[in-house]
C-alpha cells in the first residue's frame, strides 16, 4: 500500500516536472520570437525586408535562408559592429559591403546575446502572414449601408400593399354578406379613377411641377462640373494615402502654400516612399508599377535605368476654372487658413477624386460673405487696424475688405 502510494506519487511528480519543463520551454520559445519581432520591427525593418520574397531594401532581404551561409558568431559580430568586421578584412563582410554600394549598417553594440538570439529566431521563423485588403472591406461596408436603406423601403412598400389587399378583402367580405357584387383591388381602383379624372389631373400637375423643377436643376448643371469623377491613369487612392496613412495634403501638393496652383506632384515625390514600397496586393503592385514604368525604375535592383526615355503620367484634370476667373491657392491656404476639405470635400475618404464643390461664382461669393478675416494675421500689416476702426470691432468678413470686387477675380 505504502510502496504503491509512493510510486504513484513519484509518477505524479515526474509528470508534473515534465509538464513544467515543457511549458517553460514553450513559453521561453514563444517569448523569444515575440521579443525578436519587437526588436526587429524597431531596429531592422526599415532597411531589411522580411517576407515571402526576399526583396532588397537598403540592405539584403532576410527571408529565404539568406543568413544560412553565415555562422552565428559572424552574425553576432556583424550586427554589433559591421564596420569593425569590414576593417578587419573579413572576406564575407567586404563582399556584402561592396554588393550594397558601401552603405554602412548602423552598429548595435548594446544588443545582448539574448537579444541577438531572439532577433535571429524571429528572422528564421518569418513574419506571421496577415493580408487584409482594407479597400475591399471599406467598399463592402458602404454597399451594405445602402442596401440596408433599400431593404427598409421595400419592406415598407410590401407592408402598404398588404394593408390595401387586406382592406379590399374586408370590403369584399362585407359586400358578400350584403349580397352585393364584389370587385378585385385593381378593378375598383380603375373604376375610381374613371369616375374622378381630377385625380389624374392633379397627379399630372404634381408630376409637371416636379419635372419642371428637375429641368431647371438640369439647366443649372450646364458648365458646372460638380460630381466629375474621372478614372485616372493610375488608380491613386487618396483614401489610402491621406486617410489611412495620414500623409498631409501639403506633402504632395507642396505648391498649395506657395503658388496659384496646388500642383500635381511629380513622380520623384511618389518615389520618396515607393522606392521601397512596391505594393502588397496584386492591384497595388500593378498600379505602383505604372510609376516605375513612367520614370524607368527597376524595382528588383532599386536603381534607375540608364538612358530610359521617361514618359509623363497623363493625369486627368478634375477641377477646372474657366480662364475668365482667377483663383490662387496660396492666398486661401496661407492667409485665410482655409482647410483643403472646405472646398475639396472629404478627400481623405475618396478612392477616386470627385469634384465636390460646384466652383460657381455664387459658391465663391457665399464663402466670401461668411468667412471671417483674421485681423491678427501679419499678412495684413497695419491695414487690419483701420478695418477694426471702420467696422467698430464687428466681425469682418471677406466681402468687407474687397472680397466681392469684380477685379479681384476677373481681370
Amino acid at each position: 500500500m505504502t510502496s504503491q502510494h509512493c510510486k504513484s506519487n513519484g509518477r505524479k511528480r515526474l509528470s508534473l516536472f515534465a509538464l513544467l519543463f515543457f511549458t517553460t520551454i514553450q513559453l521561453g520559445f514563444a517569448q523569444s520570437i515575440e521579443l525578436g519581432e519587437e526588436l526587429f520591427s524597431s531596429n531592422c525593418a526599415s532597411c531589411h525586408y522580411l517576407g515571402p520574397e526576399s526583396k532588397k531594401l537598403i540592405g539584403p532581404g532576410l527571408a529565404d535562408h539568406t543568413l544560412e551561409e553565415y555562422t552565428t558568431e559572424w552574425l553576432y559580430s556583424w550586427i554589433r559592429n559591421s564596420a569593425e568586421l569590414i576593417a578587419s578584412g573579413d572576406e564575407a563582410a567586404i563582399a556584402v559591403y561592396e554588393e550594397y554600394n558601401k552603405s554602412a549598417m548602423p552598429a548595435f553594440p548594446y544588443f545582448s546575446d539574448e537579444d541577438l538570439d531572439n532577433v535571429l529566431a524571429y528572422i528564421e521563423q518569418g513574419p506571421a502572414e496577415v493580408v487584409v485588403d482594407v479597400a475591399e472591406v471599406g467598399v463592402d461596408g458602404e454597399a451594405s449601408a445602402t442596401s440596408n436603406t433599400m431593404v427598409v423601403l421595400v419592406a415598407a412598400l410590401v407592408m402598404l400593399l398588404l394593408f390595401a389587399f387586406v382592406l379590399a378583402r374586408i370590403k369584399n367580405v362585407l359586400k358578400e354578406i350584403k349580397g352585393q357584387e364584389t370587385s378585385s383591388l385593381l378593378e375598383s381602383a380603375l373604376i375610381w379613377l374613371k369616375q374622378t379624372p381630377i385625380v389624374i389631373a392633379l397627379f399630372c400637375i404634381f408630376m409637371l411641377l416636379y419635372a419642371l423643377g428637375g429641368a431647371w436643376d438640369g439647366l443649372l448643371t450646364v458648365g458646372v462640373q460638380k460630381g466629375y469623377q474621372p478614372e485616372q491613369p493610375i488608380a491613386f487612392s487618396h483614401k489610402i494615402h491621406a486617410g489611412e496613412n495620414g500623409v498631409d495634403c501639403n506633402y504632395c501638393h507642396s505648391g498649395a502654400r506657395h503658388s496659384k496652383s496646388a500642383g500635381v506632384p511629380s513622380a520623384n515625390v511618389c518615389m520618396n516612399c515607393h522606392t521601397y514600397i512596391a505594393g502588397e496586393s496584386e492591384s497595388g503592385k500593378e498600379e505602383i508599377a505604372k510609376i516605375y514604368d513612367a520614370i524607368g525604375f527597376d524595382p528588383e535592383s532599386r536603381t534607375y535605368i540608364e538612358g530610359y526615355e521617361q514618359k509623363p503620367i497623363e493625369w486627368i484634370r478634375v477641377h477646372n476654372l474657366p480662364d475668365l476667373a482667377y483663383f490662387n491657392h496660396s492666398q486661401h491656404v496661407n492667409v485665410a487658413g482655409v482647410e483643403c476639405q472646405t472646398c475639396h470635400g472629404p478627400i481623405e475618404e475618396m478612392e477616386v477624386v470627385e469634384q465636390y464643390s460646384s466652383l460657381t461664382m455664387g459658391w465663391c461669393i457665399d464663402c466670401h460673405r461668411e468667412h471671417k478675416v483674421d485681423t491678427a494675421n501679419a499678412y495684413y500689416h497695419d491695414l487690419s487696424e483701420n478695418w477694426v476702426e471702420k467696422y467698430h470691432g464687428e466681425d469682418i468678413s471677406v466681402d468687407k475688405i474687397g472680397g466681392l470686387e469684380c477685379g479681384k477675380c476677373h481681370y
Binding site: 531596429n43 409637371l208 419635372a211 428637375g214 458646372v224 469623377q229 489611412e244 498631409d248 480662364d323
Partner: protein, 197 residues
Amino acid sequence: MKKVNKIVSLTLATVMATLVLQSCGAEGNHPGYEFMPNMYRSAYYDTYTENPIFENGITSQLPVQGTIPRGFVPFEYENTLEDYLKAGRALKNPIALNDKVLDEGKQLYQMFCQHCHGADGDGKGSISHPVYGGIPSYTDEVAPRRTGSSMSELKSGHIFHALTYGLNAMGPHASQLSKEERWKIVHYVHELQKGSN
C-alpha cells in the same frame, strides 16, 4: 376629359425634356456639357497640358542643364556618406531661432515629417508599412548612428543633409521644401531631440 388628356401629354413631354436636361451634369468620366465652352479650355499652354512645340510634347520642361533659378543657392555638399558627416561637422543653421521660426518649423514638420517620424519625433507615425515601422526616435540616446553618436546628438548639418538628399529609407525632400523651410524644420527637430514635448 380632353383637358385631362392635354395635361397628360404636356406632363409626358416635360418629363422627357427633364430626363434629357438632367444628363447635362457631370458624372463619372463625363465632365458634363458646357454652354459656349471656349474659356474652359485655355488658348495658351497650361503647365500640365500637352505641347506640340517641344519635342517631348510636354509644357513643363526641366530647367536647362547647368542653370539654376534666380536667387537659388546650390547646396555645396554631395550626396555621400562622407559629405553627410562633413555637413554635420561644418554646417550651422543660418536662421536665427525664435518662437515664430520654431512655430513655422513645427507646422512644416507636421506637414512633411510627422506621418513617418511621429508627432513627438518618436518614430511612430501614422504610416503603417513595415519599411517605415522601424524609424528611430529623436530622443534615443543609446543606439549609435553612422555619425558615431546617437539620434539625440545629431547635429544641424546631419539633419539638413538628410532632409535634402534623404537617408536610408527616407527620400530626398529638396523638391518639396525650400532651403529656409528645411532649416526651420531642423530647429524644430532639435526641439524634439530634447524630448520635452
